[in-house]
Point group: D2
Chain length 290, copies 4
């Protein structure tokens, strides 16, 4: 049995080359179908000439048929070269978390999952270490221990993909997963893998970044959440935050500050992603934060 | 002679009861008139049931006639109960600044005026003290010294209104003007007078607030920019910011921190206002910050 | 068997009327005892005329005897009217957490406890509801369900005090404990009970503060961690933080932002307290954050 | 005639290898000389093994003789290898500002100078462009236009040094001075030249950084104030701040945000420096912010 009409909410995401008439054409179709717009955001990028729109709406007529609704776009879709995606808002997206040994991001996400702060299903936790099994158990989430060595990397990735397929994972979160995914996997799940990593002012690449930031006396410890691309740590940024440190803070103080800011930054980025607020725009993103 | 078509940009602000079909009706009219949407934001408040939309657009057909364009809305305006305002984007709004003796906000605004950081005309500075005449002179802005005493308050306000009328002031900024405007003046310029005042966590009303905040050991000094209403310091909030202080900060340190945060907060609020990004929504505002 | 000399670290806290010669007298005693100062902070409040100093030091001579060391202060203690406290740094303080139904602060503190981010023992969790038993169980911490009604308030508080005494609780954290403690209990544990509550710019007292802040359109959601005194929510502030919200954020968004900022603020305040960085200074605190 | 004893305040800065007995020896000398400590901060860096202390004090006995006071340190100075500097607090330090065409930092510093927010003398403004002469004139500050070309660089720097010597400049602020100083000049004024530059998360070196940050979609625009060393933009950091931007912010929005954060960051760094709060500690700084 369907829920009453008024409780169904949809999210319609649109992207296309920027041009005259997109908003009127798309919203005209909504009006014809008696859909009430609850929230809408759009942005035309003057550089990339791409247009992005996210509309949350509620059908007000009984018997709304999503498929018929989308089929009805056919004419304007062709004319305006629209990319259209419709999501039922109440559907929980399936998110697989990948971790190594550090558990601050995992714990934070599991808490937000448990309390409903972030609405999602977590059908699996994957790790290259057995350490966090107990935390997964407590939340009743299957824990897949898939060790990775230089020799077994390809095979391990194959097992990871099997888990992703079996669980029909929609999104993958690298919650301090300390292995680099292959370029082919990054490509296959383009725009669906979110990573978190530390960031500093100025930046420090390579090993022991906190030690080097400490040697340099930086005052701000940051974190960047981004989509994973083949080019390590250079994918489209979704969210960034910083936390202040002082001269008397030790390396371990800085690492602790980094943990806090990583948790917050990743949680926000994931929420934006799951609510379909993030669009890829070349190597950038458009994030409709409202 | 008109500037070339492509250089004219307009801002169309719409508010109305929230309902099906507003966006499609409004943007449909834009499409029919070959207007290219450069930026748009909207928001339907589920509580007040009001809908707000701001559209920046550029006509692409020669001979765009703003009056005819607005007249063309007649039918949908009636049907949907729209409030519509059209602004030519390049028009500089006339802003009268009112000050007393403290000049940090005045100096900050004059700098942003001079550098074009905030685009506006400043046809007059009004003060109840002669102290800041020289600063006004350096910027070639007429300075109206209108002293206020308990006895002359009504008369002084009359002179203030004369200046506002002569200069065709669009917006009034109380940049640390330490007199309370009458309820009738607040009403007359409803939504057009912006005030800045200090704010704390928690709040302190009444005299010597910094001293009391200091006694209480607050850690955050804030500022609130808001529209002036008859109810002092209780008008719709446009912007708020905070700055951190510590136990070793003296009252004068806190006042200095307050100065910085007041400048930034007021400058932002004024920019949002001048760019037609702020809508009154009962005793709140909608601020399309993008 | 004692650990090697070099691994013993102490914290010496000093407060007294501000006067000439305090630092030299106190540090002179440290020098005579071959103690190496690792970290020191001090502050003389020009208003209250009180002086505060925190010194972390390491004895460098074998056989350091804390009691003899403190006894050695006798002469200068009398002359300068010193209040002196010595703490062995490695000693984990005993912290009892009190909660009701909301678990965001509890979960956050338990995570920081488990990972060692905050070093402490948690000998008991006390709640007036049974809801969070399972979370306590997972962390192997005894959960005391002590319901409170208007009639049983005095009796319940007696049972609470029994738990505090049995567990030799050093510090009590009200991690969203929604009952008001009696004035006598606030007094008995003066400077040892930490509470967290929401704060806004401007403040809203009374019921449904988030709803009222939402109606007023505030832009900043804050939290205040403070010591509990008989005067509800008016005790000395230890830490404050804020988080930004916008016009489109619902009341529940604001509550979620409040949860995040409450967790961070409480965790920081507790860490400062446990590291003996906080001094009461009238109705304010001195917090040596470094 | 000398001001009354109680109005003389001094700042004593001490640095030395970290060891037992520094604080007691230094403050013992203060006590013997009846000096009342108003504020003190210290820090021993566990990595560099250097100790730093800043003491603000007030002599309480008539006839305090600074030279005799400093001479009295001779024995402990040798024994503990102390570096000692005494400053009369009321002395205004001489700061020469160097600018090119961008005037946001200059305007901000001149405002803080005029209002006393930052206490200093500004005996000269030096620029490689004539553009900002009028702003200098209004503040009655001599403006030295010293153009720089590839051919005249050495000669121009000679003229700059002449101005610095004639004006007895204590500190030089590069307030958006777009020329690179020679290594020899950086060395000559080591720890006395402060520069401000933009910073991003992550960093972007080279030309058009805002454009590149915009292409990458960064969310945080920052600024770093640091001492100038021969290694461009890599000198010891004094202060850093950030400002948030979103996908819809244009390059010029980002540049405007950068201006604001540069002003604030530079003003803070300069104030810390002028109050003798900053110590060089290898390629880092110690900043006693209180």
């Amino acid at each position: 049995m369907l829920p009453p009409v008024s409780q169904l909410h949809y999210i319609l995401n649109v992207s296309c080359p920027d041009q005259i008439g997109v908003v009127s054409a798309v919203t005209g179709h909504l009006t014809e179908n008696a859909c009430f717009v609850e929230e809408s955001s759009d942005y035309g990028d003057p550089q990339t000439r791409q247009f992005f729109m996210r509309i949350r709406f509620r059908p007000t007529r009984p018997g709304f048929d999503p498929k018929a609704f989308m089929d009805g776009f056919a004419a304007i879709k062709d004319r305006l070269d629209l990319k259209l995606d419709l999501y039922e808002r109440a559907t929980r997206r399936k998110v697989v978390l990948m971790v190594s040994k550090l558990d601050h991001c995992l714990n934070d996400l599991l808490f937000r999952y448990r309390t409903g702060d972030i609405r999602m299903d977590i059908p699996a936790i994957i790790s290259n270490h057995p350490d966090l099994q107990q935390l997964a158990d407590w939340h009743d989430i299957p824990y897949h221990y898939i060790p990775v060595t230089a020799d077994t990397k390809a095979e391990a990735e194959k097992r990871i993909e099997e888990v992703l397929e079996e669980t029909q994972a929609d999104t993958i979160v690298l919650a301090r997963y300390m292995q680099i995914l292959s370029a082919s996997m990054a490509e296959k799940y383009h725009g669906r893998i979110i990573n978190i990593h530390h960031s500093f002012l100025p930046g420090f690449k390579g090993a022991r970044p906190y030690h080097r930031a400490h040697e340099r006396g930086v005052k701000l410890i940051g974190a960047t959440a981004h989509y994973v691309t083949a080019d390590l740590d250079e994918g489209p940024i979704i969210e960034q935050q910083v936390e202040r440190v002082e001269h008397f803070n030790s390396v371990s103080d800085m690492i602790a500050a980094g943990r806090d800011v990583e948790c917050l930054t990743l949680a926000r980025a994931l929420r934006y992603h799951l609510e379909h607020r993030v669009f890829l725009n070349g190597n950038k993103t458009v994030v409709f934060r409202r």
